[in-house]
């Protein structure tokens, strides 16, 4: 095969220049031979600094490479569809392969921020369209007919007057010698066969019969298993360990230390390595480990939360300012102030963190894992472990849930260190207790809100002050500066209020922290939109009308609220004991909103109806979008009414799903999802925007039904009233 590689030259590839962003290339391989060949081929174009996402082999096999890991959000369907649509292919005609951070696929090999579709909608379509135009040209030259008489359909080029056909595979070589169209003609959306349709996801059949391969399912000959004991008091240092009893457990092979690397949070753990995972767990139970707790054994949630309340009295750094808030607030006839509180929560994907790593042949590393960031792993690990990027292979498997947790490869570091130490392929699996107690966690935010109305009940001043640690966990934070991540979205809301001042107060937290699905908007939307509701009540106005009254200008937010008003029959009276609430939130990932109806029960609240609206501007898969919003509502409900993570004596109090509970099927009402696709100002994300507005809409509905204002999450939905 190697001589074949050497014979390949640039004429075998279609170069695509002028494509924004990723700098993409379609490799049209004239030689058949499977993935091996594909890799060799693509190596040959490294000097172009371009990367192939589509390979058409002479035998007709078409592979689309997907740089966006699949974690349930549907990128295994949506991303390949962007190319396949323009290339006139259905997804069952292509093999979809996840990329593994290879240089040739460029930056952006990661899934997060609801960004996969919204940032690739145009450039991946251009990739498909260019290839289609070149295949058409190749066919027209071969048949000696005008290009205009030829069209592409289902993997073939067809000559319209005669109906003769030729397959893409038979045209690949000739097409590869043609000029690349500079600005290929994109399809008219009315001709779309995949985009905008609820096309079935190709990963679904694999997920109903046990054949889908997740990171935890990876296996190689000679593989051993590891379970790692980490400091129960977070932030402790390893002093020593005694493994005498561990080594007596049948199946235990070795005990080694390894370091968990999560940004500035570092912790050394003790790994028990065994022939099977059960033996590793039994050996781990027999370890005797001494930790230096560094004073962190005194940490508890109650004290830290009081610290946040105290810090709320600081002025804070300015995030956004308009008008003169202080003056307007001081002089206003009606003033409101409230402090909103939210908890730490866990990501808890049902697939625990795991990684199979194999250090082999002296200087080569192969990794099999569930990750949102294969590109980052190659970049970071090649430096940390001094491996040439071409010697570092990442196999990106299906993620058994991501939610932001798998943006962080701390669990990959551990496995890599262990395989390097023992010279065997090692698979690490975190227990659920490890996952629940070790984090990284979504931090809480506290919000000090101020608002003022004029004599007519018009909102004239508004302040959202966020009190929180930072996701980068830095202790020496410059308190004169705001933090965009921790104040996410609060200055992007469209309400037209003349005097506004948004602020940030840093309050250090030593725990390992992380972005969580919809990041800080998940907590800030709660305080922001519940407080807007408080202002509506003070103004004696209907909460929907109050919001729309602050939205004179046309905006996507206004469209979302109007759609919510319509689909929920907002103005229709509810039965006695019921209440409805509304909330919306726009942030970097997109825009969504809810109207929720609740009823008072003897003990607590029942959620009766949930109406969701998500504004995408343009939708790629409506059914996937509905599923994402349905799921976001469940995750948001869990974060609103279940325990979250609390700390006592430096340790997480919750350990597993019996104490860190998630909403179950019997607790979940039906969610009715509506998608806005009428253009709007930008293409917006799907995975996250369904989350932030859920809790405020619920709490606003509870206020409407009961008069009880909830300003602290979580709350017990069975004990309200």
């Amino acid at each position: 095969m190697s001589n074949l590689t050497n014979n390949i030259n640039r004429r075998n590839f279609i170069r695509l220049t002028g494509i924004t962003g990723a700098g993409l290339v379609i490799g049209l391989s004239a030689k058949a031979g499977g993935i091996e060949t594909v890799e060799n081929l693509t190596d040959a174009i490294d000097s172009y600094e371009l990367s192939p996402f589509v390979v058409i082999e002479k035998g007709g096999k078409i592979t689309i490479f997907n740089p966006k890991p699949e974690m349930g959000q549907g990128t295994f369907q949506s991303i390949p569809s962007l190319i396949a649509e323009e290339l006139e292919l259905s997804l069952n005609q292509v093999t979809i392969q996840q990329t593994g951070g290879e240089k040739k696929f460029g930056p952006g090999q990661s899934a997060g921020g609801s960004a996969s579709v919204r940032t690739n909608y145009m450039n991946l379509r251009k990739v498909g369209a260019s290839a289609r135009e070149m295949l058409i040209k190749a066919a027209s030259q071969q048949w000696n007919v005008p290009e205009a008489d030829c069209y592409a359909e289902q993997g073939t080029i067809i000559h319209r007057p005669t109906g003769k056909k030729i397959g893409y595979g038979d045209l690949a070589e000739a097409a590869s010698k043609l000029e690349v169209p500079k600005s290929p003609k994109l399809k008219d959306p009315k001709d779309f066969k995949l985009l905008g349709k609820s096309t079935p996801r190709p990963d679904v059949p694999l997920k109903v019969n046990g054949t889908a391969q997740f990171g935890i399912d990876a296996s190689v000959p000679g593989m051993v298993y590891a379970s790692i004991e980490r400091c129960p008091v977070l932030g402790s240092k390893l002093i020593s360990f005694d493994d005498a009893e561990t080594k007596k457990v049948k199946g235990v092979i070795a005990v080694e230390t390894c370091e968990r690397i999560h940004g500035v949070y570092r912790s050394e753990g003790v790994a028990v390595i065994a022939e099977n995972y059960w033996a590793a767990l039994q050996g781990r139970k027999k370890l005797k480990v001494k930790w230096d707790n560094q004073g962190n054994e005194n940490f508890n949630s109650k004290t830290y939360e009081q610290g946040l309340r105290d810090a709320a009295k600081e002025e804070g750094a300015v995030e956004h300012k308009q008008g003169d808030f202080d003056k307007a607030f001081a002089e206003a006839p009606v003033k409101l102030e409230a402090l909103y509180e939210t908890p730490i929560v866990s990501h808890s994907p049902i697939e625990p963190m795991n990684c199979l790593a194999n250090w082999h042949d002296g200087d080569k590393l192969e990794i099999w894992t569930s990750t949102q960031v294969p590109g980052n792993i190659v970049n970071e690990f090649s430096k940390v472990y001094n491996v040439a990027p071409e010697n570092l292979k990442v196999n990106t498997l299906f993620n058994g849930g991501g939610f932001g947790r798998r943006l962080y490869p701390d669990y990959v570091h551990e496995a890599v260190q262990l395989t390097k130490k023992i010279g065997k392929p090692v698979k690490t699996i975190w227990t659920r207790e490890d996952d629940t107690q070790q984090g990284p966690f979504r931090p809480m935010t506290y919000s000090a809100m101020k608002g003022a109305l004029d004599a007519n009940g018009k909102a004239i001043a508004f302040q959202h002050k966020v009190i929180a640690p930072t996701l980068d966990m830095k202790k020496d934070y410059d308190k004169t500066k705001s933090n965009g991540t921790m104040t996410e979205g609060i200055s992007e809301q469209q309400y037209e209020i003349e005097n506004m001042k948004n602020l940030y107060v840093h309050h250090y937290l030593h725990l390992p922290l992380a972005a969580w699905r919809a990041v800080t908007s998940t907590t800030l939307a709660f305080s922001h939109e519940c407080f807007i509701d408080e202002m509506a009540v003070a103004a004696k106005k209907d909460p929907m009308a109050f919001r729309l009254g602050m939205l004179a200008k046309e905006s996507d937010t206004k469209n979302v609220l109007n759609k919510l008003k319509e689909v929920s029959n907002w103005d229709k009276p509810l039965p006695a004991g019921w209440g409805r609430g509304v909330a919306q939130y726009e942030f970097f990932a997109g825009l969504g909103g809810y109207v929720i109806e609740v009823s008072k029960k003897a003990a607590g609240i029942k959620i009766e109806k949930v109406f969701a609206v998500i504004d995408l501007g343009t939708v790629v898969n409506p059914d996937t979008t509905r599923g994402q919003v349905e799921g976001a509502a469940v995750m948001a409900l869990t974060a609103a009414i279940k325990s979250g993570i609390t700390f006592d004596k430096g340790q997480a109090v919750q350990t597993n799903f019996h104490t860190n509970q998630l909403v179950r099927i019997n607790e979940m009402p039906k969610v009715e999802v509506h998608i806005l696709t009428n253009g709007g100002t930008r293409i917006k994300g799907v995975g996250e925007p369904g989350l932030p507005p859920f809790a405020p809409a619920l709490c606003n509905a509870i206020f409407a039904a009961t008069g009880k204002r909830i300003r602290r999450l979580p709350f017990d939905i069975n004990k309200i009233v």
Partner: protein
């Protein structure tokens, strides 16, 4: 050596008797469709059938499964299981998919006992299966859909 019958096939398994059935199935037999989620029978990802009844294999000692008929997601091919799988595809239930083997094993056991389950029956049978992606609404619809298909 323990002898296990999984999906009508016999396996000789070298495992300590207290090893949970889950790890015998995954690490020793090599069938990975059955998933590890919590280890304490709280999430249902590891659900298999033992003599037709749903069991959390993470909390069931392998020795107790000897002489019994074990069915995993890979062996689910009779009428009810096939209908469930078909309905799951039709309604595009899975998101990440990790918990779905367990969801499907629980749903199949439910439909075998109750061919026309009510929402309350579904709540009772399925509340042991956590889904962090939040596919509950579709799980419910797909069970009703599978029930229709079988009729």
């Amino acid at each position: 050596m323990l002898q296990l019958t999984i999906n009508n096939k016999s396996y000789q398994v070298d495992a300590s008797p207290d090893m949970p059935l889950l790890w015998a199935i995954r690490d020793i037999v090599g069938l990975t469709g059955t998933k590890f989620g919590c280890g304490i029978a709280q999430c249902g990802a590891c659900t298999v059938h033992i003599d037709g009844s749903p069991v959390r294999s993470c909390s069931f000692p392998v020795a107790a499964a000897v002489g019994k008929k074990i069915t995993t997601i890979e062996g689910l091919n009779e009428k009810v299981g096939a209908a469930i799988q078909k309905a799951w595809i039709e309604l595009q239930v899975p998101q990440c998919g990790y918990c779905q083997s367990g969801q499907i094993m629980s749903a199949t056991a439910l439909l075998r006992n109750k061919p026309n389950p009510t929402d309350a029956d579904i709540d009772a049978a399925m509340q042991g299966n956590l889904c962090r992606c939040g596919t509950y609404q579709r799980v419910r619809s797909a069970i009703h859909r599978a029930a229709e298909m079988i009729k």
